[in-house]
């Protein structure tokens, strides 16, 4: 609970600092391309339905992509971590694909999967799945050999080894992979939503920009920021529920 309070306090402080900097920039530049934060927030409050609709569209795409990536990433990551043959076979391919700027694949996915949601979601999956996969693989490899020996001493089955040892042990890596994925997926979705869609926060921002409606544009940017913050907060909350012991390990490492 204390940690949640700290996180909320941190987010609030961050938000206030951001608004102060923005106001300063507005006062210094004094140009219509940078509207004041108050004006922007008022605009957002006057048109909440439209903005919310675009946010929901983006949120659904991100959450679908993250959920699918999580399933693929955890399964393959664990496989790469426990099976040396799989690791030897697929690690070179992973290392080759990992640094490629994957947003460049959007036209390919649009050609293969059409202009709708599928190509956009697949792009986000393609971008974040390797991050999760590698985090999970590293997590499995970092499990102390002693823990495996403890499980051996109890004569466990393969499934019990996953249930009692491997899955709980890789939770920290899953959560750190998820945090990184949120930022990357929102950024890549912003790019993807500029093509062949009329819904999504990326579309909303770029559309406002082309209409030279800068208040609306900044409203979209702010909403995108809020979406990220809400998702980060949700991950923190989920982490506290699924892995309450992690806060003790973190405190001990400080």
């Amino acid at each position: 609970m204390k940690r949640l309070k700290n996180v909320t306090q941190g987010l609030l402080t961050g938000f206030i600092s951001f608004v102060v900097l923005w106001e300063l920039l507005y006062l210094l530049l004094h140009t219509h391309t940078v509207p004041s934060p108050i004006e922007t927030v008022l605009y957002m409050l006057q048109n909440p339905g439209k903005l919310l609709l675009h946010c929901i569209a983006s949120f659904l795409r991100v959450i679908t992509a993250i959920s699918i990536s999580l399933v693929i990433g955890v399964v393959t990551g664990v496989l790469l971590g426990v099976n040396q043959t799989c690791k030897r076979l697929f690690s070179p391919l992973l290392y080759f694909i990992y640094p490629i700027p994957k947003v460049a694949f959007l036209p390919v996915f649009m050609l293969l999967f059409g202009l709708g949601n599928t190509s956009k979601i697949i792009l986000v999956i393609w971008i974040i799945v390797f991050q999760i996969m590698l985090s999970v693989r590293d997590g499995v490899e970092q499990i102390a050999p002693l823990y495996f020996k403890v499980m051996d001493s109890f004569c466990v089955t393969r499934m019990q080894r996953y249930q009692y040892l491997i899955l709980p042990a890789i939770l920290p890596q899953i959560f750190s992979g998820l945090r990184i994925s949120i930022g990357i997926s929102l950024a890549s979705l912003f790019f993807a939503e500029n093509y062949a869609t009329v819904y999504g926060i990326g579309y909303y921002i770029l559309s406002a920009w082309t209409k030279m409606n800068y208040v609306e544009m900044f409203g979209g940017i702010l909403a995108l920021g809020f979406l990220g913050i809400v998702m980060f907060w949700a991950i923190d909350r989920l982490e506290m529920i699924c892995a309450p012991w992690m806060k003790l390990t973190k405190n001990r490492n400080k």
């Binding site: 403890v150 001493s153 109890f154 009692y164 709980p168």
Partner: protein, 245 residues
């Protein structure tokens, strides 16, 4: 006459071509308490790992209750020197794990509660290992090994990381638990006094990689340390093992 429980039949094991254990022939009786002592690097932990089924002898065989050992047994419990408590399990989760692994679906088994009470861990039930002291962690690990009511309890340096007082507390606890159950106890220690307190028989691993057995007249005596000759016996053993007296 007691029944032979574990038979090591001319067991040998080597690391990198160097023999650590050489042609060991040893018989352990059911319900006995054995302290395995020897100099550092003499192969004490290796022998324990062989009897646990974690490793296979290069030559010879190990038989437990008439069955040749080739993998860990469900009836054997192992208390590791580094404990191996999982940071994601609370005390009650850690202690109940062996029962759950055997298929017990009872969330609150009265046996768990009783054992935690005996171990003085009731007030720590919902704590994680990171929140416990060294002695408390050791007790949790001991409870985890005892809950499945093993017929063979193997311990690798069970009290090595503890301060003198906590060490004595744990030794008393091990003795009490042994008296209430009928498991055979085999433990490795570098502490001669501990071997004399907990070990009915002393298995001395020599530098040559062989084992000699010695009876311990002080086992089971109340206040063993205060008995006449206890420390002389300890010194004799230290000399035998060529340890600093």
């Amino acid at each position: 006459m007691k029944k032979d429980f574990i038979i090591l039949d001319h067991v040998s094991y080597s690391y990198g071509g160097q023999d650590v254990l050489k042609d060991i022939h040893l018989t352990l009786e059911k319900g006995g308490s054995y302290a395995l002592i020897g100099r550092s690097g003499s192969g004490k932990t290796t022998l324990l790992n062989l009897i646990a089924g974690f490793r296979k002898p290069e030559r010879g065989s190990i038989t437990i209750e008439g069955l040749i050992l080739n993998k860990p047994r469900k009836e054997t419990s192992f208390l590791f020197q580094e404990l191996g408590l999982f940071p994601w399990q609370t005390v009650s989760e850690a202690v109940s794990m062996p029962l759950k692994l055997r298929g017990s679906r009872q969330e609150k088994d009265p046996k768990i509660h009783e054992l935690l009470r005996q171990m003085g861990l009731i007030s720590h039930m919902d704590k994680y290992p990171q929140e416990l002291s060294g002695g408390e962690r050791q007790r949790v690990a001991l409870a985890r090994t005892l809950i499945g009511e093993p017929d063979l309890l193997l311990m690798d340096e069970p009290t090595s990381a503890l301060d003198a007082m906590t060490k004595e507390e744990l030794q008393t606890l091990i003795l009490e638990e042994r008296c209430s159950g009928n498991a055979t106890l085999l433990f490795v220690t570098h502490d001669i006094e501990e071997a004399m307190i907990l070990g009915q028989k002393l298995l001395i691993l020599t530098e040559e990689g062989t084992v000699t057995t010695r009876d311990n007249p002080y086992y089971g005596l109340e206040h063993a340390k205060e008995q006449l000759g206890f420390y002389e016996e300890c010194i004799k053993l230290r000399r035998l093992l060529k340890l600093d007296v």
